[in-house]
């Protein structure tokens, strides 16, 4: 039962990635990205990272995909034909990415990983405590980066609206 769910999630994500690589319609690619992201969130749950899975659904699938879809729809202004995107040099791109994948696969197959059996209960409490004790500098910096991004995006939107 467990292995069946893992294979199902991996196939779902592969379907999403396949649609992104194959389609020429940007809106369909954004929908397929959402499918791939939800599949990856399911894989995170199997890898016992529950908080990461929920953050992935909330931020990526619920935020970034909406943003992308809005972006596509705004740049096309109700005209349906401009949503198609062509592709350049597909053969050279395929060769480069296949060679990258084979290099990574060679490294993975030659590595020797040690595993251990850790019991994960009550993850959220421990992650919250470690955010405020061990990783507090990164936490505060992230808050600052979010603030800068918020102000920057608002300013850029205002600049566009002044046209």
């Amino acid at each position: 039962m467990g292995i069946f769910i893992q294979i199902l999630l991996v196939l779902l994500t592969l379907l999403g990635v396949g649609i992104i690589v194959y389609t020429r319609n940007i809106v369909h690619a954004a929908y397929a990205l959402c499918l791939a992201l939800v599949g990856i969130a399911g894989i995170y749950v199997i890898l016992m990272s529950e908080l990461l899975a929920v953050v992935q659904i909330m931020l990526y699938a619920g935020g970034v995909v909406i943003l992308l879809a809005f972006g596509v729809m705004m740049t096309n202004r109700l005209r349906g034909d401009k949503v198609i995107s062509g592709s350049n040099n597909a053969l050279i791109g395929a060769i480069i990415s296949l060679s990258l994948f084979s290099a990574l696969a060679y490294l993975i197959s030659n590595a020797n990983f040690r595993t251990a059996n850790i019991d994960h209960n009550d993850q959220i409490r421990e992650i919250g405590i470690s955010f405020l004790t061990e990783h507090i500098v990164a936490f505060e910096l992230i808050a600052f980066v979010l603030l800068v991004a918020l102000v920057g995006a608002a300013y850029l939107a205002k600049m566009a609206g002044d046209e």
């Binding site: 992104i20 890898l47 935020g63 995107s85 990983f113």
Partner: protein, 102 residues
């Protein structure tokens, strides 16, 4: 989860990363390139998460959460910039953008 399953997930993450590279290299529209960057970042996060299941402190998961937050900031700013460029030049095709501009 034993060591075999770990390597399968690492192969899967490498596949996600390389298909992200393929999308970035070949597609013409700027927003498609952003989608490819998202795929690459998800591949990297998957590697982090698959190693964090053997860590008592879950450092991999925390790192991946920070990476997701930074990605969200980057995508929103990138989209705002793309919308600005589109409004000024009516072009959203990355090849033609090279010729437009000062």
């Amino acid at each position: 989860m034993n060591e075999e399953h770990l390597t399968y997930y690492l192969y899967f993450a490498a596949f996600l990363f390389s298909s992200g590279v393929f999308v970035v290299l070949t597609k013409r529209s700027a927003i498609f390139v952003l989608i490819g960057v998202e795929l690459m970042l998800n591949g990297a996060n998957l590697v982090l998460a698959s190693f964090s299941q053997y860590d008592h402190d879950m450092k991999g998961q925390i790192f991946a959460i920070f990476a997701i937050v930074i990605t969200v900031c980057e995508v929103s700013i990138a989209l705002a910039i793309l919308l600005n460029i589109y409004r000024k030049t009516r072009v959203s095709n990355l090849d033609e953008l090279r010729e437009v501009g000062n």
